[in-house]
Symmetry: C2
Subunit: 200 residues, 2 copies
Amino acid sequence: MMEIYRSELSQKFVELFLEKMEFTEEEFSITLSYFKREYVPRKYFYLKAGQISRQRAYINKGSTRTFTSDEKGGEHILFFAFEDWWVGDLESYYNQQPASVNVQAMEDCELLVISKTDLENLWIQIPKLKKLFEQKEQRASFATMHRLQEVKSLSAEERYQNLLNKFPQIFQRIPLQYIAMYLDIEPQSLSRMRKRLSGK
Amino acid sequence: MMEIYRSELSQKFVELFLEKMEFTEEEFSITLSYFKREYVPRKYFYLKAGQISRQRAYINKGSTRTFTSDEKGGEHILFFAFEDWWVGDLESYYNQQPASVNVQAMEDCELLVISKTDLENLWIQIPKLKKLFEQKEQRASFATMHRLQEVKSLSAEERYQNLLNKFPQIFQRIPLQYIAMYLDIEPQSLSRMRKRLSGK
């Protein structure tokens, strides 16, 4: 198996373990030895609806969209994710049932992945690892709740502002038609809105 | 403080602890001694947006709606909840920040509540209690994800069918205009849809 070198890791990944979770160097080395690198080129899928999610994935580089498809082939974007986010389908992962969402690379992605079995073994060795994943899951849960509230209550313009606040560089990294899809508006409306609001 | 008698508890609450979580009778008695009863009459609020959620609440009897309000006074229903559900705003509870949602009684409610401080003390005594709340939170998180997917991808008719599958008695317990609000359709459209689909 190819080793992952420290120099190839994003600074945030190192900080997550060594600073936020206060791992020792040894605990971090052990943890890292369980992770594998997975490349997902742009437009390829990390996870397809119907598959079973058997690992956790950290975005070391790149971006993804998480979306569902309807019967008519329509696609509905639930989330974008960039560096330092974890992606996947947690219900599929925990219950080993088919995923209900797709995760597709929007740019060439370098993921750091750890299998369910490895993670379960590892957190027997390093119990505070469980805490880290619990925190990440709680964050993901709150983010899902925010997104639901926003989709139900906010106007397209308010949702646009939220997105820009969260990801100021999104227009440099994600094609406009996908951002429009996320906002549930037409690409032309998004172009007009963008022009109008940036002219303020 | 008024004691809660076993005979007043829903069977499901007793089963949750004694069967699903395999509590001993003693553990269950200790746990129960920390819970308080809280009555919330129909139309009253258990939680208002802006307040801080300082306790967990189990619906022993009754039903609630969880909703957000927009700037124009519009209300957006995220969830209904009936007996054997837990309600509140978890992000507010964990981060002790203002709640972003309202929880209002749709029928006279009898809740079994436990404060944050009591719960934290209690799960030092009974560690498996933590597991129970973790499971409930994970379920709530998955339910939020399902709701987001449904709101983004499904037609009003499909969302109506999902709701009926989940709560077959909903029309007997929740006024039609609230069900229409949950589905984001006009009450008249819901009446027509209901007639059409029940005539099949």
